[in-house]
């Protein structure tokens, strides 16, 4: 269910009026979304859902309690406020409690598009039909998923803060497998307006990789020069964001912690070509211009010319350290170069081309080591050309290492809510072969 700014404000005012606490903050989120899923070249499920969730945090002194629910009649809303108050009264004081923020100024966001909000079941069915038809024409087997959502978030509190943002988002993924089950390809499109969706084009891309990946040969595991297409980069590299918290680093339990004490802000940790920012006002991957606390989100530089420039600071930790709070990074934007994938392949003497990674899990928080596997098309490159498909590999590698061992950065593209370049990396660590196709 999508509330307008005025409706959200009215609902928040109503909830505020029920409060007996010292302070209260309300968060309302709502969504209207649709999806279509298909496999074996036939539609398997479709759905259209609406929901509205109300969350209440009440505070007595430094005691806080939270309650949330999806029933929005007056009695249920009063119940939510009472439950949060009862919990707050029972909770011990939290010495790290930070008072709620007062009114804030927010820049207008770029997260909403009318055309995507107007997506309907017929349009979704058409996209699925286009995709399935392309696969059937090539005598392949398709499995895909398209989802779109219109949503909003509204925050208000007893200190007078009010924030509202509306957004649209969509994501399309397609896997094409050859009918003899010997080849597989994958493509993905992430978008905030309808112009970002072209199911037929994505499917053609997946078909091309699936056909080329048939008859994979076995290559010994080891350290290779790896060319990662956008999706593979987006699968692994953003894992580094979860470690970019100043408190964990200062406490000595993060990759960004310094031996003894403190953190590595100001140190050159990566290749000097590495520049990473986040910017909720970038029109290609726009984000909500405030946090769940109501703190404004600004453009933020994280890594500049390989130097760690910032880590995120919660309001509490920022107050302890005498700095301004910095929200956690979301929607990574990394600078790239001018070369296309084909041009990077053409300049590679010997290497492995990877399109998609899978089941990535942390192995060591100390070194940011992750394990995972390649899937949906891996190729051996020699003398500037793709020579033949190879079997999938398991890797044990760190995104920090990737940023230090860059050979080349290519053109950028959006995947998920990140904008990332194609990357060519030296000595990427493949530890075993997988028989999966």
């Amino acid at each position: 269910m999508i509330l307008t700014e005025q409706q959200a404000r009215q609902l928040i005012d109503k909830l505020l009026s029920y409060s007996k606490a010292d302070d209260i903050q309300i968060t309302i989120t709502g969504s209207r979304g649709g999806n279509i899923r298909y496999a074996r070249n036939t539609v398997t499920t479709t759905g259209q859902t609406e929901n509205l969730q109300v969350s209440v945090s009440s505070v007595f002194g430094k005691r806080t309690g939270s309650a949330s629910g999806n029933e929005t009649d007056d009695a249920s809303l009063k119940r939510l406020v009472e439950v949060s108050e009862e919990i707050a009264r029972l909770a011990p004081e939290n010495p790290e409690y930070m008072p709620m923020l007062g009114p804030q100024q927010y820049q207008p966001s770029k997260t909403y598009s009318d055309d995507l909000a107007g997506m309907n079941p017929e349009m979704r069915a058409k996209a699925a039909f286009d995709s399935i038809s392309a696969a059937v024409k090539g005598k392949h087997v398709s499995a895909g998923y398209l989802e779109d959502e219109t949503g909003f978030i509204a925050i208000g509190n007893s200190k007078g803060l009010f924030a509202y943002n509306k957004s649209t988002s969509g994501d399309f993924t397609i896997t094409v497998r050859t009918s003899d089950d010997t080849g597989s390809g994958y493509a993905r499109q992430s978008f905030n307006s309808l112009s970002g969706l072209n199911a037929a084009l994505a499917t053609e891309k997946a078909i091309k990789v699936a056909e080329a990946s048939r008859g994979a040969r076995e290559l010994q595991p080891g350290k290779y020069t790896v060319i990662m297409d956008h999706i593979a980069v987006a699968d692994l590299l953003p894992m580094i964001l979860s470690a970019m918290d100043a408190r964990s680093a200062d406490e000595g339990r993060s990759f960004f912690g310094k031996r003894g004490s403190g953190n590595k802000i100001g140190e050159k940790l990566f290749d000097e070509r590495i520049n990473i920012i986040t910017d909720p006002f970038n029109s290609l991957n726009p984000g909500t211009p405030f946090t769940r606390e109501g703190l404004p989100v600004q453009k933020q530089v994280w890594i500049e010319n390989g130097v760690l420039k910032n880590l995120s600071y919660s309001r509490y930790w920022a107050a302890q350290k005498g700095v301004e709070p910095i929200p956690s990074p979301s929607g990574m934007i990394m600078s790239g170069g001018n070369k296309s994938l084909e041009e990077i392949i053409a300049g590679t003497e010997r290497g492995i081309l990877v399109h998609h990674l899978w089941y990535i899990r942390a192995v060591s928080a100390q070194t940011l080591l992750y394990t995972g596997l390649t899937r949906d098309g891996v190729f051996y490159v020699e003398d500037g050309k793709i020579k033949y498909p190879v079997k999938n590999f398991r890797f044990n590698e760190s995104p920090a290492y990737m940023l230090s061992n860059v050979l080349e950065l290519g053109q950028t593209a959006r995947v998920g809510n990140h904008i990332l370049p194609i990357m060519k990396i030296a000595n990427f660590n493949f530890t075993s072969i997988s028989d999966a196709i």
Binding site: S66, A75, S76, R79, P95, E147, E251, R259, A365
Partner: protein
């Protein structure tokens, strides 16, 4: 507002109905725990089923569900957050022209539910144009009105918040006294109040409970800049609060000073051990990579069973329905049809069930209206079966479903989910201490660590929480930087010994993900300590 006024408003709030059947408690927190009267749910369900049939459905089912969750989160000596959340609504699923349709609503009134049923029929009709494989439902006799409840002694939602806070504060302070630099801890409780009805004539009222106590202890060595962690060896479990108060009857002293918990858990004791063990990790030997015989505790092997056997034998995955997300499976139908596909060694016997007491996926009836069952998946090492729902049973020529249908919310459509998948214990008397005595060069591994498996379930890599070196039948000390990497079929064929029933315990997870849009499911895996020979071990120190 006076309490009496509030109660009346509350009743109106549940969809404008006057609801005499609600047993109102006296505090707001208890209101969240209240259950809708069964007769009202039946009348709402009947309205949905009638509306669906009138609109052309040949089959319909309806789920009226309220989900209640509570979590208490702490770090060191302070509470970071306490929250309660509810979600309430109805999902209606129908078959029209051999095609599924589904719709959901949070308007839990007769009018809302009838509208929802008609929408589900309209969606099924629209989808039927694209239908290539008409739905064939395995028969299931209507069972009338039944009820089922997770066997709990103490409802966690009846336990006062301060008691939970006090427990976590004791856990944290004792861990810090024992050397922890940092600790985060939490208690999570879930209550699903689920009413299911279908046009076969089944009406099931179920109250499902589960809980999960958890913590992570960290010890930092400032001189080296290294930090080591140890997570709780607890098990997410379908028990009441008594899981946290009955450890004395349910624990066993394990090798190397570790404590092994069955269906009761001493959180304070485990936190103290965790702090001591995290300290010990700083001086532990880094493993030399190579081949080792592994002795895997159920707290570790449970996840390996889950990933390599549980997921690979989901029939929808085998058939390609999950190809775009989690992938397919190596355990293809031709291997099952051959009746001689050696999934594991002779002693590997794996079964699926939804019946084992305290296991997370144990229920009375599934979301297809099928009573809970038990069946073999791997017998004497041979693949003999999969996991199916009513609309998949015909593919395996089964006469009935195994009862594996589940939806994680009222607004999501049910589909095939993993039941409890467990390794049967060894028949000969054997303790883990005796098992270790027979190992010349091995590693004893406990706890859940890093985990990853490929999209057809061949190649996997698992870590753990605690690793102990075994030399010539003796544990010689702690190891660090261990991960084992293998291929599912090779691994299970290297299974050489399984401890007896007295060592049988369960591993659980609250959040097994599957499907698009994603759904989670809580599932347990039972096994005894088990030995695997000659497994490849990596050193994960970069």
């Amino acid at each position: 507002m006076k309490r009496k006024d509030f109660l009346q408003l509350s009743a109106f709030g549940l969809g404008g109905l006057l609801i005499p059947g609600i047993a109102h408690a006296t505090e707001p927190l208890r209101w969240m725990n209240e259950r809708l009267d069964r007769s009202i749910k039946k009348s709402l369900a009947d309205a949905a089923l009638e509306a669906a049939k009138a609109a052309g459905a040949t089959y319909a089912d309806v789920r009226i569900s309220r989900y209640l969750q509570q979590s208490v989160n702490t770090r060191e000596l302070r509470v970071q957050g306490i929250s309660n959340s509810t979600s309430y609504g109805v999902g209606v699923r129908v078959i029209v022209n051999g095609t599924w349709g589904f719709a959901a609503t949070s308007t839990v009134t007769k009018e809302g539910i009838v509208d929802c049923a008609r929408t589900a029929v309209a969606i099924a009709k629209a989808n039927s144009i694209l239908q290539k494989e008409p739905v064939i439902l395995a028969p299931q006799k209507g069972l009338g009105e039944k009820s089922w409840k997770t066997p709990i002694e103490k409802n966690p939602f009846d336990i006062p918040i301060n008691e939970k806070v006090e427990l976590l504060m004791e856990v944290n302070s004792k861990a810090m006294e024992a050397g922890a630099g940092f600790i985060t801890s939490s208690l999570s409780f879930v209550l699903e109040d689920k009413y299911y009805a279908n046009t076969d004539g089944s009406y099931f009222d179920q109250e499902l409970h589960r809980m999960w106590p958890n913590f992570t202890v960290t010890v930092v060595d400032k001189t080296t800049g290294k930090f080591k962690t140890r997570d709780a060896l607890s098990c997410p479990i379908a028990r009441g609060y008594e899981y946290l108060t009955s450890a004395d009857k349910e624990k066993m002293q394990g090798p190397a000073g570790v404590m092994l918990y069955r269906y009761g858990y001493d959180m304070v004791e485990d936190a103290i051990l965790a702090a001591q063990q995290a300290k010990e990790k700083h001086s532990a030997k880094s493993v030399i990579p190579g081949k080792y015989d592994l002795v895997l505790d159920p707290s570790n092997l449970g996840l390996t069973i889950h990933e390599s056997i549980g997921h690979s034998t989901e029939l929808d995955r085998v058939l390609g329905y999950e190809a775009n997300y989690a992938g397919t499976s190596f355990a293809t139908l031709d291997k099952w049809e051959s009746k001689n596909f050696r999934f594991g060694s002779d002693i590997v016997n794996v079964f699926g069930d939804r019946k084992q007491k305290y296991f997370l996926n144990t229920i009375g009836y599934d979301d297809d209206g099928v009573p809970s069952k038990e069946w073999d998946i791997i017998k004497n090492g041979i693949l003999v079966n999969y996991q199916v729902t009513r609309d998949q049973a015909h593919i395996l020529n089964l006469k009935e479903s195994q009862g594996c249908s589940h939806a994680d919310s009222w607004d999501k459509v049910q589909f095939q989910r993993m039941p409890n998948v467990s390794l049967r214990p060894g028949k000969k008397k054997l303790s883990v201490q005796e098992m270790i005595k027979g190992v010349e060069n091995g590693i004893y591994i406990l706890g859940r660590g890093s985990y990853s498996i490929d999209h057809q379930r061949y190649n996997f890599q698992f870590g753990g929480q605690l690793f102990y070196e075994i030399k010539n039948g003796q544990i010689t000390g702690m190891l660090e930087d261990v991960a084992y990497q293998s291929n599912t079929q090779e691994f299970w064929n290297s299974c050489v010994q399984i401890c007896d029933e007295s060592d049988y315990r369960c591993f659980g997870t609250f959040r097994d993900g599957k499907g698009q849009p994603g759904q989670v499911s809580a599932v347990s895996h039972g096994c005894s300590s088990t030995r695997f020979n000659n497994i490849n071990v990596l050193n994960t120190r970069a």
